[in-house]
């Protein structure tokens, strides 16, 4: 993508998806000591309890990132991230998911800056549920990024609230 290339209204900006992917790979390996593998088949499985950390980005475009962590792997990731044992049903598990996505978001902003895309992150929020299902949005771009690690699968959902011609504009222009 070039700096002035327009983005189709229904497409999630590829530069942002690329930055987010780079950030989540580096953040995951920094925290958990392993490189997650991208699952291109998109075999996300939400047939069970999940916890999700959600954060928004405001800047040249507005978009959100959701990190969905199934119950099977959440306590293991929580232990590695915090150094504490955190039961899946405890309030601390929600805080852990929020903090995890918050740390990731810091890296996303840094990755976007490298690509000359300005963004500021919001405070994180948390969602929990069984059989977590995302209703497809109409219009704006949606991207799923599926990963596997030693403990199991997890995935990300990127949703652009507003895609436009400004996406990818270089800072200062």
């Amino acid at each position: 993508m070039t700096a002035t290339e327009p983005i189709a209204e229904s497409t999630f900006p590829p530069a942002i998806a690329e930055a987010a992917t780079a950030a989540l790979e580096s953040t995951f390996s920094a925290i958990f000591g392993e490189n997650p593998t991208r699952d291109l088949k998109g075999s996300r499985n939400s047939n069970g309890p999940c916890v999700a950390g959600i954060i928004s980005f405001i800047g040249e475009i507005t978009w959100s990132l959701t990190w969905v962590i199934p119950q099977e792997i959440a306590p293991v990731l929580a232990q590695k991230f915090t150094g504490f044992e955190i039961p899946f049903d405890s309030p601390d598990m929600g805080e852990m998911a929020a903090e995890l996505v918050n740390v990731l978001a810091g890296d996303v902003v840094a990755q976007l800056e490298k690509r000359c895309i300005k963004a500021q992150m919001s405070l994180p929020t948390v969602a929990r549920g069984d059989h977590l299902e995302f209703t497809p949005s109409k219009g704006p771009g949606v991207v799923y990024l599926d990963f596997t690690c030693t403990q199991g699968n997890f995935w990300f959902r990127l949703v652009a609230a507003k895609c436009g011609r400004l996406t990818g504009r270089r800072s200062g222009t």
């Binding site: 915090t82 903090e99 918050n102 902003v109």
Partner: protein
Amino acid sequence: MGTPLRALIIDDSGIMRKMVMKGLNDSQLATFEFVEAVDGKDALDKVMAGEFHIAFVDWNMPNMSGVEFVKEVRTLEKTKDDDAMPMVMVTSEKTMGKVQEALDEAGADSFISKPFTVEELKYKLKKHVDRAQLNQVRKARKQRQLAAPESKPSGGFFSNLFG
């Protein structure tokens, strides 16, 4: 180990406050007595009500951000740098612009990006913890001097003389 350092841990995430406290204890840089605050406003109230030797401050928080808190404290201190409370930003923000804003504009002393390791805490915090301990000793000495009665020769010769 001397008197514990009173450390203010400011983060809207309870789990992150626990992680920072655990990291500081594991670093063995000092003995800490922790007080927790859930946002900048809560922290400012606590600073105005009590004495702290060092503060660890998150950036993005509701009510008052970490950077706003640091600016408020620096305005309140109005004292020379040696006596200023060391304040360390512990945040997921990591762009150079944010680092500069925290250190140069707000007046924070150091900047630690999450996730952090104990080794990183040790490396980045040593001099700030040392300064906090020095401030603690200096303040304790001042308080002892203020608390002591008017200096009046006592005992021996003067006691005998003025009876």
